[in-house]
Symmetry: C2
Subunit: 272 residues, 2 copies
């Protein structure tokens, strides 16, 4: 887990599938319920292991094959707080959406407390802000890179963001337990809040004149990425302090969005 700088004001949601009780949401109003596509399961060896190791998780049901459970149990640093139901792989498949690559293990669990933007970012140095990045594989890989390169949180809109379970959690390989995900209602307003808190708001844009390496990396930086193809929306772009690109030296210009995020986080984190 990244360190929490202030006590969190919200309770863990004990009722999976429903949204968290709306606490003090600041200027953004109450949360909307999640879409019907959200499965309450996390699956895959790394994702489940990390969730079992996270004391902030409320666990409901653990399905595992004998082999998968042996592998996970051998890596746990403390006894699991839930007894696995040892079942056949097909039974796990039936509990999950079609095509889920579960590696013999699935964990039904409650969502983590939903962090507040200001609480989460008040002492942060590196944030990622996603403007309509919807592909769960990409968002999961982005969370994983954030956990490797030390970004404290990833900010995304409630609308058009994938649920933090299933495909996303599998691609994140455990990073949903380490990186705070802040879901906000209005992206431009959130960027303005971050700006007021002292963050340099740097939008990644292939057409920018400056490269990311040229900005002042001693400042707290919120790096904004748009969807592939569409890029940053107009209002997002206008709210940024600076637009930057990654220096391309080959015949193509545009990276996959999760690769762009990884490279940008590395550039901000690399030893100087």
């Amino acid at each position: 887990m990244t360190q929490r700088k202030r006590p969190n004001r919200r309770e863990t949601n004990k009722n999976p599938g429903k949204t968290a009780p709306s606490g003090n949401r600041g200027p953004r109003g109450p949360k909307k319920p999640h879409g019907p596509g959200q499965s309450p399961f996390i699956y895959g060896l790394h994702a489940v292991e990390a969730a079992l190791q996270n004391p902030a998780r409320t666990l409901h049901r653990l399905l595992a094959t004998r082999n998968a459970w042996n592998e996970i149990e051998s890596r746990l640093t403390a006894p699991a707080r839930i007894e696995p139901e040892i079942v056949a792989s097909e039974e796990i498949s039936r509990a999950l959406p079609p095509g889920a690559v579960h590696q013999g293990v699935a964990l039904h669990l409650a969502p983590l407390p939903e962090p507040d933007l200001e609480d989460t970012t008040v002492n942060a140095r590196r944030l990622l802000v996603l403007d309509q990045v919807t592909d769960p594989h990409n968002v999961g890989a982005i969370l994983r890179s954030a956990a490797v390169f030390g970004a404290e949180a990833v900010v995304m809109t409630e609308r058009n963001s994938p649920p933090l379970t299933g495909v996303l959690a599998k691609a994140a390989s455990g990073a949903v337990e380490h990186v705070k995900v802040v879901k906000i209602g209005n992206l431009a307003r959130a960027l303005q809040e971050l700006k007021n808190m002292g963050f340099l708001i740097a939008g990644l844009d292939g057409e920018a004149d400056q490269t990311l390496g040229e900005i002042d990396v001693t400042r707290p930086v919120a790096l904004v990425l748009g969807a592939e193809g569409a890029g940053l929306r107009r209002l997002t772009r206008e709210t940024c302090d600076v637009l930057v690109k990654l220096p391309a030296s080959g015949p193509m210009r545009s990276l996959n969005v999760s690769n762009a995020a990884a490279v940008a986080l590395y550039e901000l984190a690399r030893p100087r």
Copy 2:
């Protein structure tokens, strides 16, 4: 296309689905036939546009919706060398493997000439070598990053490598037309050849003592990446000149393999 430094000794394969006629394959012997899963189609807007722009491609059949074709045609810099069959999206789906995200366009085409290791790399500065990286999404994204950061070729084994069409080509977003893919029989022998040609063979390994930023980037570098989880195989590791890691500053250590490749290529290419 990256520039070809010597005339290529092989012919374009005019017979898709079959392997190229075995030419002078040096010490590696004749090619094995591809697996039965190989579809001869490239699909998706960027992938098809790039293939149509590549004069080295022999084109067989182009299926497109009216909208997709309008979009592609508006971006072509020369008239297409093949007349599209304007069809319904469902007809394209039926021609492709289930679940293919074709965006309204699919192109049946011949494979590119299969480049020879020495011919391709004799004047190259940056290579990627993949040791059993099998996921086509990852390999496609790696090709895309290679095309952005100016790696001239990606070397992989004939066995355990995905076909250069379908999912891989879609994820590569056109990069299969720009980056040479050299398929070799024996990875350790190919690394030895590259070493003899003057490449520094740098294996990426999370347990290494050195970071990638510490190596001599003025030399030609062949960067070796293993599969996620398994990492580099023993013989591959032993053949490397140096093992290097990417500096992780957060709570996790391991990136998605395509993200690791992107970051490493960036580190080798970034302005100094």
